[in-house]
Symmetry: C2
Subunit: 431 residues, 2 copies
Amino acid sequence: MASTGVGLIGFGVVGAGFIDVLGRNAEAIRQRLGFDVELLRVADLDIKTDRGIKLPKGMLTTDAMDVISDERIGVVVELIGGVEPAGSLVLEAIRRGKHVVTANKALLAERGDEIFEAAAAAGVNVAFEASVGGGIPIVRVIRESLSVDKITNVYGIINGTANYILTKMDFEGKSFSEALSEAQEAGYAEKADPSLDVDGLDTAHKLVILARLAYGIRVGMDDLYVEGIAGITPQDLEIAEEFGYRVKLLGIAKDVGGAVDLRVHPTLIRDDHLIAFVDGVNNAICVCGEASGETMLYGQGAGRLPTGVAVLGDVVDLVARVRLGVPARPAVTYLEPGLKLLAVDDVVTRYYLRFSTLDVPGVLAQITRVLGDNSISISSVIQKEHAERTDVVSIIMMTHEAKEADVRKALNEVDRLDVIKASTFVMRVED
Amino acid sequence: MASTGVGLIGFGVVGAGFIDVLGRNAEAIRQRLGFDVELLRVADLDIKTDRGIKLPKGMLTTDAMDVISDERIGVVVELIGGVEPAGSLVLEAIRRGKHVVTANKALLAERGDEIFEAAAAAGVNVAFEASVGGGIPIVRVIRESLSVDKITNVYGIINGTANYILTKMDFEGKSFSEALSEAQEAGYAEKADPSLDVDGLDTAHKLVILARLAYGIRVGMDDLYVEGIAGITPQDLEIAEEFGYRVKLLGIAKDVGGAVDLRVHPTLIRDDHLIAFVDGVNNAICVCGEASGETMLYGQGAGRLPTGVAVLGDVVDLVARVRLGVPARPAVTYLEPGLKLLAVDDVVTRYYLRFSTLDVPGVLAQITRVLGDNSISISSVIQKEHAERTDVVSIIMMTHEAKEADVRKALNEVDRLDVIKASTFVMRVED
């Protein structure tokens, strides 16, 4: 039998959570699966900080290679995060025939293909339940339960920090920057650079992973349209609610008939859809299948223990496979003929447009003329005092379905009108 | 290699759905898994009715034994439903070394132990994703993803018909019997005998299965307290909403510290919980883990295609295991030392009580005295005109936490008071 020992690289918050969950459930795992999960080595550059976890003498090392080169170790858990040095370590582990468990969405989104190919060549598994949705078992559900259905649409709230900020803005009328500060105080957003969360990049990383699993397509970060939440005002959230919507930062991967529409942006969702009520740091992912209909998974999208559970689930699964001698399976199966990717210009959706204009007669006529000239038809209009400036007003419009290219062209024209005082703010609608 | 052919017993609504989904996704399954799922025989007493599915000549038979005894068949799918003859056929298939996939919750709840023991003795798998929650992959999630966590609480809306009826009553003010008729017209409730759905028995069957998986306990139908929804009036739903709750028929399995509290009954759920908004025929199941926190799975709990997806997922999984020669795993692992079951008398919860009383002075004093004498303390009171009778009034009380035994004793006394005109109606609260 191949080695079944487990090694961990990255003894940070999630790493400690993984060891904690393993300790609490060792006896139940032994009874359920008939074996022990043997954690043999733990590597971290910092082996001094107390993580509240007692490890046997000699288990800790500052050298990740001590984990990767240990012959007793068959499963390497990578919880460092970030593309490097995590990527090199993962590839080296794979090259040495180790199975890998990782929670590293940035690495998988940026260099997934390289890693999956290396794993296929070495005949090892790469498991990554914890990379999307923390404790929510979305990877297993798409990969196993729903892999026998044709998935038509996957979308979700997969960044808890952005959702926390939007919830604060919505429930307490806070501005984006106030809500961000609170998220930083609460430890949900990074103090040094919160951009990964608020600019939509972390959501995009996870969406790339979900899109590969759901559609069997080759896709990378360059294929996505990504927009964050920094431009949203509390007034936008209020007005969206008047229109019957709530605003969420969504990752969307939609089969629009032979092409996959991939986007990350703040989205208006009808207030009679369950996902509209997913608040705070929680995550939720909806998967629509041709036969299975809409399934939603909701839960804690981050946190040391929920993520630790996801990592441990993968570890247990891989140890069981090694023990049984089950051949490795591909991390992602690319289907042929593959679906194309929809160009963002060809996206068709409804739009929420907020114009910042002078409060003078004829403004509405000028805006609507430009929209009409570009085949954009309007379903509702509201005029409000501007949220931050007293010399301008906000005119908010909901459009009927329109093509992204037409909307961009129209807004380009509108924003050059003399009466327009700031770039028009855009959100998209999922009905 | 052992036989990998698939045979189906029961070509009804779900059986046809299974074959339909298999046909639609055969190519994707071939690419993802590298093999074909070969359906070889289909048995049903009725082989004349057109199910909209074309089968090759000679595939249909009226004799289930043609499926079970076919040496090319390694996986038998049982979709007849009901305890017999399904039970005998499943046991015979197991005895002959066939793996079994079933959607039959009644059979598993009533005779699960016998079937699981037979499967263990024969070294075959019994898979039953479709038995709970239709297209929602709750069995896989509890069995695999969350099996590495300690589950503290499982509860859910797992009967779509009852939820449809409650939703109709709530949104349209319909009485129970009107809403039941509509559910029957819509094909959601059986015309001949809707009791399995409305009396809570179907929910109880599924809860037994969930409780075995979540807690590793031996449990049968006799261990549950079961109550249906027939006693609820639209007024109850309205008043519950005034108190900040919505009413759902829940199956609840809760670890209350060394003992599992197992119940099926209409339940008041706070209206800030996501599950309170699960309406119509949809299902949702919440699983709370010590480490993973609360996870909720939502989706279509019934229907030919969603259930067909669940069945096909199990079939594909078993065929893959047979092909790889993976040893069978137990359907349920009973943990030692096992948790005890909580006696219903020892349940502690909050109660919604509706008293039907004469509209005379002193009634409230008489009722509250009896409650007080039995250590039941009241948190809110509302008096309304009675929903159906003009000579009586409804007094509705929400209690603080109280013991079931005390509540029963108190209501026994209250119901014998002269001013009480009908048995007091009781619902329980989950906060």
